[in-house]
Symmetry: C2
Subunit: 332 residues, 2 copies
């Protein structure tokens, strides 16, 4: 494991992207976003996913020369087509547009079809918050989780992001509808440790924290059991219908690799609401931190606070890059 | 247990409400909504909650003569004050207004402060769907769940509703951020049965399905552990800030009883999106129902499908009313 400065990593990613036919502007913005995700400690959707991004460019799933385009506009709601361009650029462009609409109408919504992986969904929640807006967004995914009561994967682990601006660090949840990502399950397997809570089912059909068993059955657990399964289904329907794009089911028909997804971006201008939101939020945080702790030594964190701490460390000491990932990137 | 027709129950509730000073119009609409909730099988937020509603009228928490009023409007976003009026009427009025905005701008949002219990949040999701809109809404609650890592209750079990119109029955999730409501935990306790999955912590700090133990500690479990805790916190912040109203923390300061909450209503006009949403949704449902089942005899249901089935039964055979609840209502 080595630690690479944000500047060096951005430069490296940008060069590699350009090598694979991505123009200067998109290479820069994509590299910047993936480094930002890594700075916040979301390596799975930052540095660790870079080799996969390059392979999707090679396979031509991503057509980086294509820009997203507005299909139709109805005041505060717009439908966009990602034209299979770079997922990060498509998402950033659409959240920018959503914010612009919110400034005008108080709330804005863009539904995006035919787009590619946006990496960390939270990046677009934070983007809205940086602009003084509440950000809500989600994406559908290929089928990777069984519906409640089912054994085979026909729904997605569709992450739902909710973010509100806050001076000391924006408050955000960016969570998949599966209790653990496949990446987290794999990581536990290689480290020969159990998951901290149930993450799926074993071969006997019992709830399990054993990553090996869960990988065997493929039966990962939705958050809140039937509840997360329900949210995943409705979020998929909303995204696919509003964007007039692919549903999870349709993404599954395109093959093993995941591309051409549907996404929803919502922004609400917080400046229009009066009062002092920051004071209200500070008071909530202070109250939370005063809770009686389960473990005396374990501080109660507000959503996304951990990322704020990780960022400080990574800015000072560099972004940790695993040897395996580093070698892979050198070979690209 | 007896079964009472929807007509008779509506009539009974309307008369009782009028006796407690609620005018004809609000009595009718409130009784109708609570009967609709009961028809769908949501008795906890229908008939079973009626005595509590009356007690809140007696205690003057609810001021049924007050109508909600628009504080400010920014195109597609509006802020309303519920003026402590009837919660069901406030919510219905605000979702009606949200739908009206969505018809004009594609999307609409109303943030409501100083309101009372809306009973079943799903009622307003279904209201949007009946009007051809996607409905998203949530409310904050008084502190009734510990934040992740905490022992004492400082966050709410804030339900999040997401609903999309569908001809065969609207698709909807209406779920609290706690795995089980206090009502469900109490019900299991009286029936001397365990909860179907972990619902909280026992006195030794271990995850438990035992309702008696969970009631002892008061440590109910958020859906998805840290994830549901995070959503609850951010939803509370968004509702309280956008409505410039009470946060969960502030609701807790008002005492044991829950009143003067903050709520968010969002509607998106589905008719503006092109394509054939109903065909897309039908295809998703058909795919889900084709899943390999965990229990051969157990059909895979889409979110809210069970309510559609219960409604048919209750319309034919009457709404089931427990003897205890029936006696309580007679005495009001």
């Amino acid at each position: 494991m080595r630690r690479i400065s944000a500047e060096d990593l951005t430069q490296l990613m940008r060069e590699k992207l350009k090598k694979y036919g991505v123009d200067e502007e998109i290479s820069s913005s994509c590299a910047k976003l993936m480094v930002e995700n890594s700075l916040d400690g979301i390596y799975s959707h930052g540095i660790n996913r870079f080799p996969k991004l390059i392979s999707f460019l090679s396979k031509k799933y991503i057509k980086p020369q294509n820009k997203p385009s507005c299909i139709c506009s109805f005041g505060a709601f717009e439908q966009w087509d990602g034209n299979l361009g770079m997922g990060t650029t498509n998402a950033k462009t659409c959240m920018d547009r959503t914010i612009e609409i919110a400034r005008k109408y108080g709330i804005g919504c863009v539904a995006l079809r035919n787009t590619n992986h946006w990496m960390r969904g939270g990046a677009y929640g934070l983007q809205a918050a940086e602009a003084g807006c509440i950000g809500i967004c989600w994406t559908n995914t290929k089928p990777n989780m069984p519906a409640w009561g089912a054994k085979d994967c026909r729904i997605g682990n569709n992450p739902l992001i909710m973010c509100i601006p806050h001076k000391g660090g924006h408050i955000m949840v960016d969570a998949a509808m599966a209790q653990f990502s496949y990446g987290a399950i794999e990581e536990a397997k290689y480290a020969c440790r159990l998951l901290p809570v149930h993450g799926g089912y074993d071969s006997d059909g019992n709830l399990s924290s054993d990553p090996v068993e869960i990988e065997k059955t493929g039966r990962v657990l939705p958050i809140g059991y039937w509840k997360g399964s329900g949210y995943s289904i409705v979020m998929d329907m909303i995204a696919a219908c509003l964007a007039n794009g692919n549903s999870t089911q349709e993404l599954g028909k395109l093959g093993e690799d995941e591309f051409s997804m549907s996404q929803i971006f919502i922004a609400i201008d917080l400046k229009k609401s009066g009062g002092d939101p920051d004071e209200k939020i500070n008071s909530i945080i202070e109250d939370l931190k005063g809770s009686i702790r389960v473990n005396e030594g374990q501080e109660i964190l507000y959503p996304n606070e951990k990322a704020t701490h990780t960022r400080i460390d990574n800015l000072q000491n560099g972004i940790p890059v695993e040897d395996k990932v580093w070698s892979q990137i050198q070979l690209l």
